[in-house]
Symmetry: C2
Subunit: 719 residues, 2 copies
């Protein structure tokens, strides 16, 4: 550790007295923000940064207008005292920063007064009356909120510390900051030493108090655990909570939530102990985590795998903060492409720089790439494969979910996939069944339908065996058995991913080959081949959830029902209504639909052991949904009964619908014929697009079996 | 008529020879575009205008690249020869204009060659092999296309006329322009003299040939009919096809389609005979028609009453052209607000001016107002009432349809209504069942479901009596009986419309009071009171079609069905599936839903003669729709059995859902109580919004009966 923070402050204060005070210059803070940030902010204005500055002043001024309100803790999450204490830490942060920027003592006085009020109350508090069983707090019902409170509050303290009298400072330290830090560390070791993002908030809070008040013991505990063994604490969290590619196992929705304490505390470490090179730790794991969060998005929204609310995206506060810190560390100009989409910047040196790049029209594109994001601390728990063509706002993106379960927020959808194109989600994932903060929807919590529908296998584009979800929807079983990312390759012709899952259903081995093929003269299209191996006969359902208006299909023996019946009793089927059904031919079945201004065709067929005729069922959500909790989404379901079986298909964007100028072009699929040729070691899917070429997916299997382990796409040049 | 056009051209050509030719200066055209336009365009560039110029050059260059392709007419609409002849007139227009702008003879040569090719073919043509029975063409299957072809082609001729040799000119006149004009006039008097927008195209085409070639006889026929009596022709069309407010009875979707020949021909008249003051005719009816087309829109899209495809809006080519002409005539700067939304301008002096206003940031808002647009040539066929608060892109708009039937494209939805708010269609109208130009959807024509669903009363927010559509869905009956716009008032407190329809159902009198109330402290909200008078007991269904996700409702005796059954056999009910139902209490029934980032609540009750309990049914579209032609929309239906009855309700936007910043505010309705007080002459609906005030709708009825004829909203100041 370098010279203590308080000493630096004292020196700065002395210098201030000695200097001729022509412009305001307070002692700079030394946590997430430091002198460099304050200097940059004081010289800045205009653009996105100007808006953020004005917004901070608005928040601070409003807080001053409202005065000091520190109520005795009474309410659970969402209640008055809970929300007031949340408002308070944000208000203190904004006012403290405003003091740093302007030198106006009205702002620092507000923070001082608030801190004193808390210091007077805190020692008298017992556990919160509405305390959560496992992790109670004192100011809040759960200690997670208390840790977040302290992360903000200690920064506010740091902003205004120079203005405190010795008596005030001692009172704030001894009656507030130290007691809260103690409570969050030795007071609840099970959370503090836990390798979980709740632990990260506690560690960050305690560590930042350490830096701000020169308590080396707090810093040491934060970095290496309560017993300082290194078996827990921040470094362990960095080692265990992200895969080597910076992927967080719950998926991007929770990754962005977990990100803030990581990057804030790392920045505070970097300010105080630059020699630690914390951003270089584990091959730059934190910067990888930030980049991965950015990259697991399409057109501004996060890919909604696992429990995820679908309107959440890169504009989120956590990623705004993280982006500026990443820029500050890397000076990577392509990060400005993300800031442009965020439409705001954080108040920091990085934020100033990003705002300037945008204002000067010097944005360069962020390099979104086709890539596998490995899952698991050691990268051996499968992975999330992204295949891309074109840019991230209008181009094509295939997501293959060959990961681990992702813990309690995970869905039973391994080997499922999604497709994005033309700025839209085309082949869809339901996300979570939850209306965050909407009181009438079960208080904004996860809904019953999150378990009964959203988590179930049939709610995803993944094979369902015998109408049951993967692992019998048993979380313990599922957690123990990751999927396998068998292969991945990216080339000019095609990106290809192979995923395997042999443990979800007894005696059934599932392999999925997904390819994003990039023809020269037509839109990129997707090839999907699901290989199922089993000795016994099962019912295989392959759902295909899509967004848009059906244009037509070519199914024979087709019946549309005037009465829509529920399709099952459990595993998600109890929410599905059957609207129509037809026979699935062996090949070249086709559905065409329209989404926004583009057409899509799904051309599909199957290969089975015996000659069993398949069915295609059109369904809609809405049964067993008395509270109208589900969105009324649609899909089709391909059903086969067989031992071994292969579902193959092509999803193909084409043409244009233009209502304003009244034209339509290429409303028909370019796929002339889809032919599957099975052999022991080399299966082929031949996609004949006539004048647009013939593309052949060649899949190689080992003689010992268990699905393709290698695949390639070639363009047939004999045409 | 002024000095003949050809003489002017000759003089201009002579001048050109005499002048020192420092810049290109051809003889200017004299139809829709004239010298003023060409001069303005030659001096312009940048902004929207620059884009339009570049686009015209692209079209012209592409045409030159493709060469002259004039196929023998064979195909019906959509077929190859049909589309090629359409491409040809647009190509000739673009190339001719490009010649005017650049003086490059490559462009004029292209037009000349094309015209000669047509002149060689046209005299040999008989009627089109795929001719439409009533109105056959020669180049096209119907003469409407032929008239459109001539309107463009004669302008292209006018652009390049100076480059023609005498021989070429004679050939083009005698073998092409005159024969086509003759065919469209004396060749088919039933269309030419018809008071219908198809007639307008023919009249415009023939009249423009008259001006371009100095044929006064053509001009006279175009203006006053074939026999020059004034009983038909352009002036009659101006007298009969628009109401005094410039409303076209089929509604805005067809109004914008009908607009182009009107404004183009008027502009050509103005160029050649400015003393006619055609734009001042009938108190400026054409400018009113343009303004009305603009005003019958919300957030860029036309209000989809009657047969209307919902993606059609103000960006349409016809309105881009009309807007520039309107600006040229009026210099009304607020028209630039519309051009801004159109994101392009036409190539004309008006287009140049609009582009400049936008580039200079001098746009002022277009003054959208609350207003009744009377229907019928004399304005006595009811009207369309628009009530507004806030701007036209994010504010509130109530539309009450108290019009005539609107001819063959009309829907059986008189006294229906719609509500727009926050940029969205909230209380919805299905529009037309049609996928324009989508081959797989019945060749892009109106679908069977347009008759069986979209036109039916239950597909709208209008009362259905005994499960039958208005007038028994008989068009002749419906055409003969307009609705009545009984009253309309606009004030700071509220806008109010009263509509009446006593002829749609035998012995049943319907009156609807709609008010847009504008509280000071809350969002504008809608009051809706439907009064039904009948001696006999009927079943009354009031459908409420809305867009968004249901949040909750307070219906008792509520049942959600796992099997969704069809709700009827005809009149649209055969497409509706019943998903759930509950009991309607006498008052304060409530549905709350979420659309985009705003909540909406529908609070409703009823008053009936006897104590009959009402029901509320939730439905979704999709039954009897084997081809997936219908969108899967939702609604609820309030059902009563009674003699006299009143349905009353409030629709209220409130609060905000913010996913990015994770907050929700005001997700509950502000309406504390809804109370209906009926009396013989003064009924009241009291809307109690607690701290946000109490609003009372007072409706006055004559002792002779037949529903309220006067209404007002007062704020209760005793609170």
């Amino acid at each position: 550790m370098k010279i203590s923070h308080l000493v630096v402050k004292t020196i700065a204060a002395v210098c201030l007295l000695l200097a001729s005070v022509s412009a305001f210059s307070s002692a700079a803070p030394s946590l997430v923000l430091s002198e460099k940030d304050i200097t940059a902010l004081q010289g800045a204005g205009g653009g996105l940064l100007g808006q953020s500055l004005a917004q901070n002043k608005r928040v601070a001024d409003m807080a001053l207008g409202e005065g000091i309100i520190v109520p005795w803790p009474e309410d659970a999450g969402g209640g008055y005292t809970h929300e007031q204490h949340k408002r308070n830490y944000k208000a203190m942060y904004a006012a403290g920063l405003q003091y740093q920027l302007s030198g106006d003592k009205a702002y620092s006085d507000y923070v001082v007064e608030m801190l004193i009020a808390y210091a007077e109350m805190y020692p008298k508090l017992g556990l919160h009356p509405e305390k959560k069983e496992q992790t109670p707090g004192k100011l809040f019902w759960q200690s997670l909120n208390e840790a977040v409170w302290l992360v903000y509050t200690v920064q506010a303290y740091d902003f205004i510390a120079e203005t405190l009298s010795e008596g005030q400072n001692q009172s704030i330290l001894n009656d507030l900051l130290y007691p809260v830090a103690d409570y969050l560390s030795i007071g609840q070791p099970q959370t503090f030493d836990k390798i979980h993002n709740h632990g990260t908030w506690a560690v960050a809070a305690v560590g930042m108090v350490g830096y701000a008040t020169n308590r080396e013991d707090y810093v040491a505990q934060a970095l290496t655990g309560l017993n300082r063994s290194g078996e827990s604490g921040f470094y362990q969290q960095l080692d265990k909570l992200f895969s080597p590619d910076g992927y967080y196992t719950e998926g991007p929705y929770y990754q962005r939530y977990a990100l803030l304490p990581f990057v804030w505390f790392a920045k505070a470490i970097d300010t105080n102990e630059p020699d630690e090179n914390i951003f270089g730790y584990r091959d730059g794991i934190l910067l990888k985590a930030i980049r991965t969060t950015i990259e697991l998005s399409y057109n501004g929204l996060f890919i909604p795998i696992n429990d995820a609310i679908k309107d959440k995206g890169i504009k989120t506060e956590e990623l705004v903060q993280a982006l500026a810190i990443a820029y500050d560390i890397t000076s990577d100009r392509s990060l400005s492409d993300v800031a442009r989409q965020q439409e705001r910047v954080s108040l920091s040196a990085g934020g100033v720089a990003l705002s300037n790049i945008i204002a000067r029209d010097q944005v360069i594109p962020y390099p979104y790439q086709s890539k596998v994001y490995s899952d698991g601390a050691d990268g051996d728990q499968g992975g999330l494969a992204l295949m891309r063509s074109g840019d991230n706002e209008t181009g094509s993106l295939v997501v293959a979910k060959n990961t681990s379960q992702g813990m309690g927020h995970g869905h039973f959808d391994r080997l499922g996939w999604q497709f994005y194109d033309n700025g839209q989600e085309v082949v869809t994932d339901y996300g979570a069944a939850r209306y965050l903060n909407v009181e009438a929807k079960y208080g904004g919590h996860y809904l019953r339908e999150n378990d009964t529908w959203a988590k179930q296998t049939v709610a995803h584009n993944a094979v369902v065996v015998d109408q049951a979800s993967q692992f019998g929807a048993d979380l313990m079983l599922a957690n123990a058995r990751p999927a396998e990312q068998v292969a991945f390759e990216s080339s000019k012709v095609a990106d290809i991913s192979i995923g395997r899952l042999n443990t979800a259903y007894q005696g059934v081995m599932l392999t999925r080959v997904l390819a994003l093929v990039k023809p020269e003269l037509a839109n990129p299209f997707v090839i999907d081949v699901v290989t199922i191996e089993s000795d016994k006969v099962h019912q295989y359902d392959l759902p295909f959830h899509f967004s848009g208006q059906i244009i037509d299909h070519n199914l024979t023996h087709y019946k549309a029902f005037d009465t829509w019946k529920v399709m099952g009793e459990s595993s998600g089927y109890q929410h599905m209504l059957l609207r129509s059904e037809g026979k699935s031919a062996v090949s070249n079945n086709r559905l065409t639909w329209l989404l926004d201004d583009r057409f899509y065709s799904y051309t599909f067929g199957h290969s089975v052991q015996a000659e069993v005729s398949g069915k295609t069922l059109f369904f809609q959500l809405g049964a067993n949904d008395p509270d109208h909790n589900l969105r009324r989404e649609q899909g089709l379901l391909r059903r086969l009964k067989s031992t071994n079986a292969v579902f193959y298909s092509v999803v193909e964007p084409h043409g244009e619908y233009n209502g304003t100028h009244e034209y339509v072009r290429d409303s028909s699929s370019k796929v002339k014929n889809l032919e599957f040729q099975a052999s022991k070691l080399n299966s082929k899917l031949i996609v004949d697009m006539g004048e647009f070429g013939k593309y052949i997916l060649i899949m190689t299997t080992k003689s010992s079996g268990s699905g393709p382990y290698q695949a390639t796409v070639v363009r047939d040049i004999n045409e």
